[in-house]
């Protein structure tokens, strides 16, 4: 298990390094002159040259990259060209907002998807199964932005149950914070729950017909133990894999959802950054996003090896 962990962390670091190159080159490849964007209304060649000198834009791209890498490793992601604020600080401010949204959405997804999938599989062909399947199809088909708009229209505008948009920090006022986060979390969590439900259902159908489930029954275990201990553990292996992939989709979903509900999170930050050509911000956000994605996948793999001992042992042996 130890060596598996070391190897897995090593590959994650490598992925991050490659990602930083892609992000760096990608931003450089964007059309437009960074110096022009930095200069704003200034068009004086001398001023532009000064800016190029100041930001090291005349150096070879490899040198620029290494400098960028060195700074990034020290937590220095540069300054926003639009606001002049420290990008690291902006990210530290915005990240918790998106993390909260992502965690709440994950909660919605898990709380609906996993039980619905289990019930649908155990009562195959019955009305709970049909309801779950219908819900799954809807959840997958409905676009986030549409669901968000409909929820705002119905829940906020017509029923006046919850505020339509805005954000209150969690630590400032937890109740108001949750009131504003419920709808976005539902919007973002619905698609996830649909995917999890379908995955859970098919995995559960498969494991429930496995020989070891029959063995568990032959031992005199209750149906509850058979399902929740023997079948669930093995079903979760595939579900966790899918969950890891879906968390990536959650990040991109957050971009749209935060835009709709006017939540000052990561997604909104990146959209604003792109619209204003704020390269350091785009670069920083992209890097942190990649970092988050790699981290999540690392966690998923570790969970996976916990659920599936075959991975753990063969990984350690090879």
């Amino acid at each position: 298990m130890g060596s598996y962990l070391v190897r897995r962390v090593g590959t994650s670091a490598l992925v991050l390094l490659l990602a930083s190159i892609v992000v760096f080159v990608g931003v450089r490849a964007l059309p437009g002159d960074a110096a022009l964007a930095l200069a704003g209304e200034e068009r004086d060649p001398a001023a532009l040259a000064e800016i190029r000198e100041k930001y090291g834009l005349n150096d070879p791209i490899v040198v620029q990259y290494l400098r960028y890498l060195g700074n990034s490793l020290q937590g220095d992601l540069g300054f926003s060209t639009r606001t002049g604020l420290d990008v690291s600080q902006i990210i530290v401010d915005r990240l918790p907002v998106t993390l909260e949204l992502a965690l709440l959405s994950l909660l919605v997804g898990l709380l609906i998807g996993i039980p619905a999938g289990i019930v649908a599989a155990l009562r195959r062909g019955s009305w709970p199964d049909n309801v779950s399947n219908g819900f799954g199809l809807l959840g997958l088909s409905i676009p986030n932005f549409w669901l968000g708009l409909v929820l705002i229209l119905v829940v906020s505008v017509q029923l006046r149950l919850l505020p339509a948009s805005g954000y209150v920090p969690l630590l400032e006022n937890p109740v108001q914070n949750l009131q504003r986060m419920v709808l976005p979390a539902i919007v973002l969590g619905t698609g996830l729950s649909a995917v999890l439900m379908r995955q859970m259902r098919s995995a559960m159908l498969e494991t429930m017909s496995a020989d070891y489930v029959r063995t568990a029954r032959s031992k005199g275990l209750s149906e509850r133990q058979v399902v929740l201990v023997h079948a669930l553990r093995n079903s979760l292996i595939t579900v966790v894999t899918v969950l890891g992939l879906q968390l990536g989709a959650l990040i991109s979903g957050a971009v749209i959802t935060e835009q709709i509900f006017v939540i000052p999170g990561f997604g909104k930050l990146i959209v604003d950054g792109v619209f204003t050509r704020d390269y350091p911000v785009i670069q920083g956000v992209a890097l942190v996003t990649v970092f988050g994605y790699v981290l999540v996948n690392l966690l998923v793999d570790l969970t996976y090896s916990f659920l599936n001992p075959r991975i753990r042992v063969s990984g350690a042996a090879s």
């Binding site: 496995a210 020989d211 070891y212 029959r214 063995t215 568990a216 029954r217 032959s218 031992k219 005199g220 275990l221 209750s222 023997h230 553990r233 093995n234 659920l307 599936n308 001992p309 075959r310 042992v313």
Partner: protein, 341 residues
């Protein structure tokens, strides 16, 4: 409760049987209508007796075995009576049945590769049944699990107990299944094709263990198999099944010496004999039984073997033959019983 069939003269122990199955009928609901998988099976099992149920795939032997501790899926309808030490198992609630399963009646399944849960150590899987029925603490159960692994002759049980099924060979996994099966000292161990998935060399070891356990723990065994070699090795008595019905029942030596039903005769002819020389075996193809097992779409009202039977006559295709003694303690369901010449 009373059987519509004439019960055979009781063979085996004279005292009350440990397990008695009487006129067992199992029907499965399917999209194409009912499937009559078991059609009136009766047998008795004495304490520490080994009873083999023999037949080809689809003859209902596994369904019969699964019906005993109520392990059939909900699509199955079970009729008749199954009494364990006088208690009718079919009248028990699901909760009461779970008390019986794993404690009084336990199972060893055919596929050791897939019958153990890949996510848990073998120790945990053995502990589970001990904690469930014996109320042992985790620690005591772990200790007992090691002893059980030793009992089924797994080398280095202290280490093996913490290993996962994929780290064990097929033979060892089947031993683990057996250890799990005998953990609570069951009255009846049902072994459904316990050696079929194993190499021949491993088979012998597993059969040895089962034979010894039966002596040491005085557990009665129901051995489900299609392999008459395994039967000869282990069983005291044999029930031959065909198309969901018992067609012949006898003690092991009697059956091998004087097979009465044409189907049993056919099965015995299909075994290669070691005493023949290699050339002779190579020259004479193994005898096969022509035709296929009948579909079980309707309850048979005639001899189900008649279409494949060389002795078949008018009566065979018009009336189902009763299971009646044709030799002492040797009932056969056939109008033309006897050994092949």
């Amino acid at each position: 409760m009373t059987s519509s069939l004439d019960l055979p003269v009781q063979v085996g122990p004279a005292n009350d049987p440990l397990l008695s199955v009487d006129d067992l009928r199992v029907r499965f609901a399917s999209e194409d209508g009912p499937v009559y998988a078991v059609n009136g099976v009766s047998f008795e099992l004495g304490a520490s007796e080994v009873l083999a149920i023999v037949g080809e795939s689809g003859c209902g032997k596994s369904v019969t075995a699964m019906a005993i501790p109520g392990l059939l899926p909900p699509t199955a309808t079970v009729e008749g009576s199954i009494r364990l030490a006088g208690v009718d198992l079919l009248s028990l609630s699901p909760k009461e049945l779970r008390e019986v399963r794993g404690k009084d009646i336990s199972f060893v399944f055919q596929e050791p590769m897939t019958s153990l849960n890949p996510a848990f150590t073998v120790g945990r899987q053995i502990r589970e049944v001990l904690q469930r029925h014996e109320g042992l603490s985790k620690r005591a159960a772990q200790q007992r699990a090691v002893e059980l692994l030793e009992l089924v002759r797994i080398p280095a049980p202290q280490r093996r107990v913490d290993e996962y099924p994929h780290q064990l060979s097929g033979g060892m996994r089947q031993r683990v299944m057996i250890a799990m099966g005998v953990a609570c000292g069951p009255k009846v161990l049902i072994a459904d094709e316990p050696t079929t998935a194993l190499d021949v060399t491993i088979q012998a070891g597993v059969l040895d263990i089962m034979r010894d356990l039966r002596t040491e723990l005085s557990t009665a065994i129901i051995l489900i198999t299609h392999d008459l070699g395994v039967v000869a090795d282990l069983a005291d008595r044999v029930v031959v099944m065909y198309a969901g019905m018992p067609v012949e029942e006898a003690e092991i030596h009697e059956l091998f010496a004087h097979p009465q039903h044409p189907y049993t005769n056919g099965l015995l002819r299909a075994i290669p004999h070691r005493e023949k020389g290699v050339e002779e075996v190579a020259r004479s193809r193994l005898a096969e039984i022509p035709g296929l097992v009948p579909s079980l779409r309707s309850e048979p009202d005639l001899c189900p073997f008649a279409p494949r039977c060389p002795r078949s006559t008018e009566i065979c295709v018009s009336l189902r033959p009763p299971l009646e003694p044709t030799r002492p303690h040797h009932p056969t369901a056939c109008y033309h019983p006897g050994e092949d010449s």
